[in-house]
Amino acid sequence: MLAFAIRRMFQSIIVLLVVGLVAFSMFNFVGDPVDSMLGQERTDADVERVRIQLGLDQPFPVQYYKFLKGAIKGNFGISYRQGRPVSDIIAERLPATLELAFVSAVLAIIFGVALGIFTAIRRNGWAANTIMTLSLIGVSLPTFLIGILLIYIFAVELGWLPSFGRGDVVDLGWWRTGFLTKSGLLAIILPAITLGLYQMTLIMRIVRAEMLEVLRTDYIKFARARGLSKRAVNFGHALKNTMVPVITVTGMQIGSIIAFAIITETVFQWPGVGLLFINAIRFVDIPIMAAYLMLISVMFVSINLIVDLLYFAIDPRLRLDKTKG
């Protein structure tokens, strides 16, 4: 177990290093930050001076090495655009993204599981069929279109919900939360639905498929034959056994919810790290881009690591195989 964990962690570090290397080799193609930094009235001498100052005249392996050296000490440099430490900026923006991701995930899990069970039990009902058809929209429509659609319906036409932003936030010192104000809670509804819709439909379809599978098995038939109540059969026996793959998929999807928040955040002007990243690309703010990509890859790698370790802990067969091999 320990050897396995150490090996996995070692692999994770290599993955991170490679992600960083690829990112840095691409930054040369994103554009030149100096132009946006200096503005219209720059002379050619200014451009040269700033390029040297920022170390942009050096080849990318050198730039990458310098970045790593700083990153190990927890120093990700200074944002070209805002002129402030990158770690401060990201720490300031992360709560918005995490709150959005959290609400989306909760909505996706609750509605996904509930609708999945419903459509599995009432397989041929008209309501279940309608839900299944509608769920195709969730899978096939791109996020930005859903977002714009929701804004037009609920903000412009009905006027129920705000069209953009995060509402009023309460500063807890280390975390700025939108959960404590009415406008903050109203503001999170549309972006959370937009962001979580795909995951919701995915979970719903998996739960439904798994349920249908399990409902056909012998022990369910036996439970029914024993005269157990429908409720006990469906929720006590069937649902429990469908949950294992659902948990796996959900775990993996949390990473993508945070990573794909970029589009939702742009549509709703949600002040999180995704919007920060988009702005960084437009401005060629290399320190921010590098730190964001590292953050996202650390997140994916650690989720993967945790999932792997969980398998190991949960599934006795895997453990046996390992000790044998």
Partner: protein, 531 residues
């Protein structure tokens, strides 16, 4: 009885409270535009949204009002000194206080100018001719220049004044420096003399300003707006939706495809005016051979007839009608209409005549045409990429086969600065309102100090002398004469292919009463609010 009175009092106070809230709302302006201010440091970034926000909080000696006219702000009188043409003297406004209560005087002005001239400042080019700044008493200020500078005043309209003591107390004497690694206090805090005080700011999310009750001009300007909530909304559709739903009252950039929608909505209006920005194409006419064409050993753009043919092949009316949905003013020169040196004759829309253009191509020996790459930004100007696409079709009619390469601005502009493109789109605004600014950057031979945006590789030493001479010519009549002469060469040599002047579209609630500033900089102290 007692209970009744109590209820009555409670009721009355509730009503009063709700009315109070209602009034506060009526005087709050929710303002949105695509981009956020980059920093609150007044000397770090010379860029539209950044200076626009700063103008509400801080002031310069002289500012431009909503019509673009230079008017007194922290200086009440100014002009070249009578005894020495190399000295500009300013009389400063007395009794002005910064937001923290500190008094404004010449010490602050000297400090701010020195700060703006430091190496990290984005404004140092505008002050390149300044040799020294000095106080002349508590409310007098002087600028000493290398030589006479007749236009000094128009370079100062975005040069904000900070409080010296405040900057020193907070370690913000230096302009923020990305290399230095320190977060300067001034990039996140502001203490100006302006009509609005910074209450809170979250970058890219929300900035709140409230009225400065001690503002020196509180009785001179409408100042109807008591509170400003500024939110950048990047996504066009979201920005329009926010206006339509009433979440914001004023947006600075209505996308052209949504103009009708906003205009037709009850309670909303769109107002438009020409912007201080002209869009044009540049062609490499200086090199012997081009890299991105298919002509070997020759540069087709070096031939004046080819440049004239290109100019004639572009149908500016069609671009206006179809690409810009009528939201542009076709142009004949690369200067916005407000600028000294602009004339209606020079700006007359060039003839669109494909046959004549083809004739010129034949005369030049390119009757069969040639191919060339056109570089275009896709996120900088209004419909920039679409303008280029339309031009590709128009140039095909005279046999020029154009390969369009549209890139984000961060990649496009380095091509021009680094001389890596032979045919490109560029837009130009003139903050000084004088042609010299255009000549310095776009016409003068490219070198260390001048011509940094001259991507057409045009070079004429005689013209360079004339351009450099403009900076110190104090006889305005003679100076204007020289400007006219330079324009004559620019037009005759067809240095650039002007396309159009951009038009600004401000969308707002009916209750907001304002005109459009050509700088795209709202000065909220001039705004009136109806009910």
């Amino acid at each position: 009885m007692k209970l009744k009175t109590l209820t009555r009092i409670a009721l009355a106070s509730t009503v009063a409270l709700s009315m109070g809230i209602g009034m506060a709302n009526a005087q709050t302006l929710n303002w949105a535009r695509a981009g956020d201010s980059i920093t609150l440091d007044p000397h770090a970034q010379n860029e539209g949204p950044t200076t626009a926000l700063q103008h509400q909080i801080s002031e310069a000696l002289i500012v431009r009002d909503m019509t673009g006219k230079a008017v007194p702000a922290l200086a009440t009188e100014w002009g070249p000194s009578e005894s020495d043409p190399n000295v500009w003297s300013f009389k400063l406004r007395e009794g002005v206080k910064f937001h923290d209560g500190a008094e404004f005087d010449s010490e602050d002005v000297v400090f701010s100018f020195n700060r703006a001239m430091s190496e990290e400042s984005n404004f140092k080019e505008l002050l390149a001719s300044v040799k020294e700044v000095r106080a002349n008493g508590k409310y007098g200020f002087e600028i000493v220049t290398d030589g006479p500078n007749p236009l000094m005043a128009s370079n100062l309209t975005n040069l904000f004044i900070m409080d010296k003591d405040w900057a020193e107390a907070n370690g913000a004497t230096k302009v923020q420096d990305v290399e230095g690694g320190e977060d300067t206090f001034a990039s996140r805090n502001a203490n100006g003399t302006g009509p609005y005080i910074l209450v809170s700011r979250e970058p890219d999310a929300k900035t709140v300003l409230r009225i400065n009750e001690n503002y020196w001009g509180i009785d001179q300007f409408p100042m109807d707006i008591k509170e400003i909530v500024y939110t950048p909304i990047q996504n066009q559709a979201t920005r329009v939706a926010a206006l339509l739903s009433g979440d914001v009252d004023f947006i600075q950039d209505v996308p052209v495809q949504d103009l009708a929608r906003v205009g037709e909505t009850d309670g909303l209006k769109v107002i438009t005016a020409p912007q201080n920005r002209v869009i044009f194409f540049g062609m490499n006419q200086g090199d012997v051979d081009l890299e991105t064409d298919n002509v070997e050993g020759k540069n087709p753009f070096a031939d004046l007839r080819v440049r004239q043919a290109v100019n004639m092949a572009i149908n500016r009316e069609a671009i206006k009608k179809i690409v810009m949905r009528d939201q542009s003013v076709p142009a004949g020169m690369i200067s916005p209409p407000f600028v000294n040196g602009w004339t209606a004759e020079l700006d007359a829309v060039p003839e669109n005549n494909v046959e004549k253009a083809q004739g010129l191509m034949n005369d030049a020996g390119y009757g069969d045409g040639f191919s060339i790459r056109l570089n275009c930004p896709n996120d900088r100007y209004i419909n920039d990429e679409a303008i280029c696409q339309a031009s590709v079709g128009m140039l095909a009619k005279i046999g020029i086969d154009v390969q369009l390469e549209a890139l984000p601005k961060a990649q496009h502009f380095p091509l021009i600065g680094g001389l890596k493109t032979d045919f490109y789109m560029l837009g130009w605004g003139v903050p000084t309102y004088d042609s010299e600014y255009i000549f310095n950057f776009l016409v003068h031979t490219k070198g260390e100090k001048y011509g940094s945006w001259n991507g057409v590789r045009f070079s004429d030493p005689e013209l360079d002398m004339k351009i450099q001479g403009l900076a110190s010519e104090t006889n305005l009549e003679k100076r204007n004469q020289t400007i006219a002469e330079i324009w004559e060469v620019v037009q005759r040599e067809q240095l650039y292919i002007p396309i159009h002047h951009q038009v600004l579209n401000w969308g707002m609630s009916d209750k907001v009463d304002t005109i459009v500033s050509p700088e795209d900089t709202p000065m909220f102290k001039y705004f009136k609010l109806g009910s």
